[in-house]
Symmetry: C3
Subunit: 208 residues, 3 copies
């Protein structure tokens, strides 16, 4: 598949960079909590920062984004170093959750947009947004041996689905892309923020 | 690689649908046992239903099957909803094992057939059948935090290998494809059924 | 992407075979320690032996190396059988670590070389060397339910990074490929050997 006339403009590119950078930071913070070495910081930052986008690119048949352009790798390594040298109190409490929430919303929109730009149909493009947004965090949690967010009733995948579906719907409806991207990312972030702040959660299965 | 003159007829297409649907059901049932939310039901159903086939398509260089055709995604989501709303007693006991056994046998044959249709050599096509059949279940078990079937002495991978190898052998020997597919899937299912029913297992390593 | 004028000569091919074979052996030994069946021996040997190289090929857009050429699969299966029938005392103690160390150094160099031969830029080629060398072991540890080497402070990823970066640097500097490959693999192995022998480790994060 080749690129069609769905432009990835500056707003979407910014969401990509924000997603990579913030996920890399959450990976490095997870390494800090697990008292790892600087090399493991780098490994966690890379796997969390570029993991979701890598799987997205493999699935849609795009060249993997960090192979030709080495800036994402460099950004992840610099962020790992920054987390290593800054005071740990900056990363306490719910900091990880909030960084992750912004990264998730940004990456859900960018993932769906990149899929559309490769001519992927709408339903699969929404799935790509969800994957891009959720896989980085799942990889990080598995690496750190922590229970994955997707196994908790707290809203997470739902917020990514809202952001990705809203973006695909708004852009199909002819809304200007920068506006559609901004509104969708904010909506996904707002829903996830309610989950972090108020514990907003889905009901669990009670069949039996 | 492009498609060669190995036709995927209606019997093989049926095995594909059966594999996707039953694996999706086992994913949703695993989510029910873990008292998850409806979103997690959908996530487990999708990952288990399309996971093995996705890896197969990436390895053989085929377009990922659920990107252009959204029916597999829709089927997984509908099945997740059905498991959510039906009485849990339907899914008790060994139901999961039996659904999984049929899905495994169907998917082992279809995975090998799809690989052959892309011009993959016989030995690698058998491996693709085994991968397609086993990976969905492994993904489900890892997601649910349960010990994977491949770590138990009970026959499982062996049954998938029987189905895939028998299909590749019979079709190479010129047996009509619908017959080869049906016989191979039944043989794989029968071997797995003996394992579920009678505890048929391989000997474990006793070196020392 | 297609192959450019970076020749994979006999020294690099030997490193590939050594990497596949030794990783397959460590996978089978992990299965023996976990008292698994012969089928699981084969599964562990295959996943560990070809896992890292498979991910490398998917990322750089190369055809997966064991699809057309079935010798790697056959080698992994033969090695699984050899580990099954030989006395377990051969595989005691640190044998697994030493086999893994040679396989890691060989695979770090070959992974970087294969990436260069597909026209991948230097920084990404170094990453490919690290991935090829480390992923097989990570897959093995996850399958066997053991804590992964990358979570321990002992030098491991660092040694792979040294081998891959040294090879990319030396070949860019015009050093003859067989010499660059040999020197780099030896350097990576020597660093890992110090870690196994003397417990050489990186400092862990003490921020707080």
């Amino acid at each position: 598949m080749t690129s069609i006339d769905f432009p990835i403009g500056p707003v979407l590119s910014t969401l990509d960079i924000v997603g990579i950078g913030l996920f890399a930071a959450t990976g490095a913070v997870a390494a800090a909590r697990a008292r790892q070495t600087l090399i493991t910081f780098a490994f966690f930052a890379l796997a969390t920062g570029v993991g979701g986008g890598t799987v997205r690119d493999l699935l849609i048949g795009a060249p993997v984004f960090w192979i030709e352009d080495t800036r994402p790798l460099t950004a992840c390594l610099v962020i790992a170093l920054l987390v290593w040298i800054t005071p740990a109190r900056l990363w306490r409490g719910k900091t990880l959750d909030w960084l992750d929430a912004i990264g998730m919303a940004a990456y859900a929109v960018f993932g769906a947009a990149k899929a559309l730009s490769f001519g992927i149909p709408p339903v699969a493009a929404v799935m790509m947004g969800i994957f891009t947004a959720c896989l980085g965090g799942i990889i990080r949690d598995v690496l750190a041996g922590e229970p994955s967010i997707i196994l908790k009733p707290e809203l997470y995948v739902t917020a990514a689905a809202l952001a990705a579906a809203l973006f695909v719907g708004l852009s199909a409806a002819g809304v200007m892309l920068p506006v559609a991207a901004g509104v969708s990312a904010l909506a996904g972030f707002a829903l996830r923020a309610l989950a972090i702040w108020k514990g907003l959660a889905l009901p669990v299965y009670r069949g039996g």
